[in-house]
Amino acid sequence: MTTTSVKGFAGVDVPNDDVITNCMHCGLCLPTCPTYVLTGLERSSPRGRIRLIKSVASGDLPMSELFVEEMNFCLDCQACETACPAGVRYGSLVEAARAQAFAQERESRATRLLKRFFLGTVFSSHRRLKGLATLLKVYQRSGMAWFLRRTGILAAISPKLARLDPLTPQISDSFSSDVLPEVLSPYGERRYRVGFLTGCIMDVAFGNVNMDTIEVLRRHGCEVIVPQSQSCCGSLAAHYGDMTSARRMAAGAVDLFKRDGLDWIVMNSAGCGAFFKEYGHLFADDPERASAAELVAARTKDLTEFLASTGFRPRHARPSGNKRPPRVTYHDACHLAHTQKVVQEPRRLVQSVPGYEYVELPEASWCCGSAGIYNIVEHEAAMQILERKVDNIASIAPDVLVTGNPGCMVQIRHGLERRGLNVRLLHTATFLREACDP
């Protein structure tokens, strides 16, 4: 692997000088950046961050605390990439800068501990995640959660934990990876053979979404292959700069999914899909794995991308009675819209379901503030950004809100509950599965 040492940076994951130079500091990305809109400070904007990265690279700025803070304050939502006329791949810069900060241990103690806990402990091993999730499930089901929350005991024990509590995903009754066999045959004739990633959060908190995804795929003529003993795809670690863990997990996923005979690998989590598609760039020092990774990346498609390109059609109209048809709207997950540029496909699919009135959500592609573990590490900002999302949802008062990423679902559900809005929040897979139901 090429090991560059730009003045302030060192090692493998260095912000790329060509990408930095590509930014012509025109500022067109500023109004799309949630953190810039929040603070009004140029250093919390994409243009500002790129200039700070450039300054560290050239040695004009040390890798200061404020620098690292700004890199972590970024949601990595990549809305700026969509807005950028010059096609600057901003995400790659901020992720490399974070990797630098992580490797050089330049983050504050609290951030480091939080990241270590979530990335190093919770998400690093799937078994551990499931173990923790089981404990959490007992806690949630036992009424203990309700009791602690209601009585304020939780807040008394730890205010920080109390704030995070509503953001812990509701754990599924059973983990999809425990009940899914390796091969699920299609209903009717086989048209495609697709690989399926159970994911980590998806698996433990949205097992039903995984089931719905598989159901939709099988009805669409897919034989679904679920490689056993999967672990996290590594995207959470990568976005927070822990490239060593990210590479280890990605390598595992590549080895599981490089098998012959898969037409596509279908994703129902925007973050994982985006990272799978980037696998090709991860293994520059390991040519063999790199070519396998490229193959995996090239086969990866988001569920909606796959369905739209293969002519999926919902079978049934849901009876709407004689009342007005329910209103449905769609929220873009950042890593689907901005990173993978999948914008029209999910909308077309949602609109194709009869019996609903589709309403476009204002600022649909504005981040909800979930952003991986952002809502844990940068809690205050995440909540302010969430408020804007909920305001927009409230402004059109939909009956159903559809989206394609587990992180968004946890975050938005919390926002809706806090505001007392009665909106059914569904993953695209679930919405489409219902539309297929007899």
Partner: protein, 485 residues
């Protein structure tokens, strides 16, 4: 000099939260949208009231530091790039639309309002604010007034100056002055308002702006016209204007730009055409139809290969996007994009384009051209890499020739982006000397201590007032007053 005591006083005036001094913040305000210009300011200020600004300006006069006003920093001539010994003053605490007066069709705004947000606010009431720079989503109304910004609708609707009715400004000496007002006509005394419009932050800091609005046009029609020969496109432009039609937009793309657009966006444009015109007419329904048909005929008479006319809003937006993304498409090709802004009389557009092509060929540079053909305002755009110093040097020489050619054809070095730092050397060379002298004198009278954006538009010349100093101590005293700084 900007001293610690000056900093303390600023913190007292504004409160510490609105005075940014970290190196990270200074770096983040060291540039605007102009390629290859940057400098660190001493501090960055975010005032909230006109009185605070007035106090800061007075302090700058006493403590001798400079103030560089800054909107969103999207400027393309270095207007908000810091100068030596300066603080940058932001307007982004000033983002309110204070009043939309539907009876007088006017609006009072604060300078930090984003142009596109203002557009949607007035259009929501069936009103219209025509100036629409390509940067409308990010730039501020204050920056637009300071640069007298134009846009796609200049031919029919004019530019920012045609919509500024009044201003509240903090003058370089610290007084707060109001000029203009809601009266449509006003000839009382010199027209100071129009001196301030386009003054690039060198004569005053706008704190409130009164803008003129017009009724929103009822309907519009959009077409894209393709030509095998550049001259045919240029003659079409002249003929449309000669036929007494004023399209809302009359925009042009050359072959390089078309190829980049097609490669980037796949709009189905033929890549072997030499020129493309985007034409839009608006107004009352029946008139729009008539004008559009007449224009279509003129285009065909001038040998247009193809005329695509939009049947609905969706198609109009698609056609318009060919022009809207011209800049993006070019910007992707190479790391550094130098976008220029020469303007010639409309009748000379074809000749000017010929000259530009000759010059770019001579220097072996990659170059795209697009722009507001109806206004004679062209954006020759050089695609290069700022790390390649030899090529950047060549580009500079090429632009030098382009500017001279424009002036020779009766045009100007900048139609809408301003002089700032980037073009002051050319202003010096290409402006009628008495006019330049008048500008300098005006600056000296209004800003005797040179606190507001000094060194922008023209370089500072040493002040020589009174008799020439002869004796050594006289000279030293003269220097101590900062004569040559």
């Amino acid at each position: 000099m900007f001293t610690p005591s000056a900093l303390k006083k600023l913190q007292t005036i504004l409160g510490p939260a609105d005075v940014l001094t970290s190196q990270e913040d200074r770096i983040s305000y060291s540039y605007d949208g102009t390629p290859m210009l940057s400098r660190l300011p001493e501090a960055v200020l975010r005032p909230r009231t006109a009185d605070q600004i007035a106090a800061i300006v007075q302090l700058a006069n006493e403590e001798e530091f400079a103030i560089v006003p800054r909107g969103s920093g999207s400027g393309l001539s270095g207007g908000s790039v810091p100068v030596e010994n300066c603080v940058v003053m932001l307007t982004n605490h000033w983002t309110r639309i204070l009043e939309i007066d539907e009876r007088n069709l006017t609006a009072w705004v604060e300078p930090g309002v984003i142009t596109a947000q203002f557009h949607s606010a007035v259009e929501g009431r069936g009103l219209f604010y025509p100036p629409d720079p390509g940067s409308a989503a990010v730039c501020t109304l204050g920056g637009n007034v300071a640069e007298n910004a134009g846009g796609l609708r200049g031919l029919k609707y004019g530019v920012t100056k045609n919509y500024v009715l009044g201003l509240e400004v903090v003058l370089p000496t610290g007084e707060i002055m109001t000029v203009g007002g809601k009266s449509v006509k006003d000839v009382a005394g010199y027209n100071l308002r129009d001196v301030l419009v386009g003054s690039e932050g060198t004569l005053g800091i706008f704190t409130k702006i009164l803008l003129r609005l017009i009724p929103k046009p009822e309907s519009s029609s959009t077409m894209l016209v393709m030509y095998d020969r550049l001259t045919d496109a240029a003659e079409t432009v002249s003929s449309i204007i000669a036929a007494r039609i004023s399209p809302a937009a009359l925009e042009f793309l050359d072959n390089t730009t078309i190829r980049c657009v097609e490669e980037f966006a796949h709009l189905g444009l033929p890549t072997n055409i030499e020129a493309l015109l985007l034409i839009e007419v608006d107004g009352r329904g029946s008139v729009v139809e008539e004008d559009a048909s007449m224009i279509e005929k003129i285009c065909r008479d001038h040998g247009a290969r193809e005329v695509r006319r939009a049947r609905d809003d969706g198609e109009a937006a698609r056609l318009r996007s060919a022009r809207k993304i011209a800049f993006s498409a070019l910007a992707r090709v190479k790391p550094t994009t130098i976008l220029e802004d020469v303007t010639v009389p409309r009748s000379e557009v074809a000749l000017m384009l010929d000259r530009i092509q000759e010059i770019s060929r001579k220097y072996g540079l990659m170059w795209g051209n697009f722009g507001h053909a109806g206004d004679g305002n062209l954006h020759p755009t050089c695609l290069t890499d700022e790390r390649d110093h030899a090529e950047v040097h060549k580009a500079e020489k090429a632009f030098d020739e382009v500017f001279s050619a424009a002036v020779k054809l009766g045009g100007t070095i900048t139609g809408e982006h301003g002089t700032g730092l980037a073009k002051r050397a050319f202003l010096d060379r290409l402006t009628d000397p008495p006019a330049l002298q008048m500008m300098r004198s005006l600056k000296d009278v209004m800003d005797p201590r040179r606190v507001l954006n000094p060194g922008k538009i023209f370089e500072l010349k040493p002040r020589c007032e009174g008799p020439m100093p002869r004796r050594r101590e006289q000279i030293e005293k003269f220097l101590a007053q900062g004569a040559f700084t």
